[in-house]
Symmetry: C2
Subunit: 250 residues, 2 copies
DNA sequence: AAAATAGTGTCTGTGAGACACTATGAC
DNA sequence: GTCATAGTGTCTCACAGACACTATTTT
């Protein structure tokens, strides 16, 4: 029934209230070893004073482009260049229950963005109202954004297991320890350093050696680590399974 | 920028052409050992005479409900009762590129539906134009529905690995062989009967025994198989990995 | 009787995780 | 020197997949 005739035949304005389409972005990065999400402070009703995910109305553009544009606007960066060049963007889910926005029917396409350490949005710019905050402190968000964030985090944690997503959180060249810190931050669990090391190097295409060595050892001592780049794998096989939690199963 | 003030301040009709929101459903079932998808024949332009996924405009209802309603309308069944009672519905992805529908901006929320053997839509009813067709014969669909179907199939094949989704394709009570037939049909690969049997029974919560035995043996002979119900697991652990295909990794 | 299937036993290779250990470098 | 870290070695257990085999049922 996507055809025009049946659309017109069955059209009833009460059935089809004006619908707005927006994108909302769950942008994640790691700062000081903590997984952080980008939020904005709402100035207007409803939910004035509450925090919310960055987002906005879709223009005459693809949905992915709208998400990247919103992320750029809120961070004060330019899409596709500089720090935003390496951002990984993927669609999360679409939220469209009537009543999720008290003003009108809003269908929101949620996106998940992963970025290596973006700069703090600068005061004075358009992006002044945006800020990074540890995900465990991001509560009581506007609209249904608590739920969107929760589902985004679930997705991120899952994808670390079977995709090389973790490399999107580190610099182009990184050590195995830095990669492990990503897993630790996102999963919230310590991983055995030795086993993690062997595992990462054994998965084909996950990382490739640069031949270089880090300029210095760890902050609190230790030998200088070898540097790696992301490999060409799109799926990790065998996967890097997180410690099994019985409660995830049922 | 989901607030009303900034919406009005920045509003420009050229930026926000009328947007329609639809749902499209990739409904999968297994008929005669083949994975089949529900399609409709389009009568109107554009794509008149082409086949398309069932779908339609979203009314004043949650998105999930719209998907179930469309599925019910096209199959001539009643949502939530009878054969549609056990349908598994989940959101797939949202497609909204400008130009994907030549008439206007249409943002379509695609759903994936899994059902045990639904009846053929009856001729004479509203659903007469809908039909089941093996997925390998579903080509040249209208709009971007080829892509939506392809992504739906990918998702279905993935979810068989780590969720008990396969049980949504069989009757409430089933044999291990019937379950294996689902995997064979969806993955398009033969599985070793003995190993599959042991594996299924070893995954906690995947299936539970009814204590009963099938009324008769296989069509071409063999002992009568024990009957099982779906268990309470939502994730299979360890997962039932499909034979590794090197090309899936890169 | 013949053929197909249900279900089990067994062996092997791989990989995850626990633990131990060496070497290196920051402080 | 002290301590934390990088990276490797080794052992054990779980599991996937190959193969073999028995028992049971249909044609």
């Amino acid at each position: 029934m996507t055809d025009e005739a049946s659309f017109l035949a069955e059209y009833d304005p009460r059935d089809y209230p004006a619908v707005a389409v927006t994108v909302d972005v769950v942008a994640l990065t790691i700062r000081d070893g903590k997984l952080c999400v980008l939020l904005v402070e709402r100035g207007e009703q409803p939910f004035a004073g509450h925090r919310a995910l960055p987002g906005g109305f879709v223009r005459d553009e693809p949905l992915d482009e709208a998400a990247l544009r919103e992320l750029a606007e809120e961070t004060g960066l330019h899409p596709g260049e500089g720090p935003l060049e390496r951002v990984h963007l993927e669609q999360l889910r679409t939220y469209g229950d009537p009543g999720r926005d008290p003003r009108m029917r809003v269908v929101s396409v949620a996106y998940l963005a992963f970025a290596p350490h973006l700069p703090e949005p600068t005061a004075g710019s358009d992006a002044a109202r945006a800020f990074w905050i540890p995900v465990e402190d991001a509560k009581d968000l506007a609209f249904d954004h608590d739920q969107i964030l929760a589902e985004g985090l679930d997705r991120a944690r899952d994808k670390l297991e079977y995709t090389p997503l973790a490399t999107a959180f580190v610099d182009r060249e990184f050590t195995v320890s830095e990669l492990r810190a990503v897993y630790t931050a996102v999963w919230g669990e310590e991983l055995h350093a030795g086993n993690f090391h062997r595992k990462v190097l054994s998965v084909p295409g996950f990382v490739e050696s640069t031949g270089e060595t880090a300029a210095r050892g760890g902050e609190r001592g230790g030998p200088r680590a070898k540097l790696y780049r992301a490999g060409d794998a799109t799926l990790l096989h065998p996967a890097l399974l997180r410690p099994t939690r019985e409660d995830r199963i049922r």
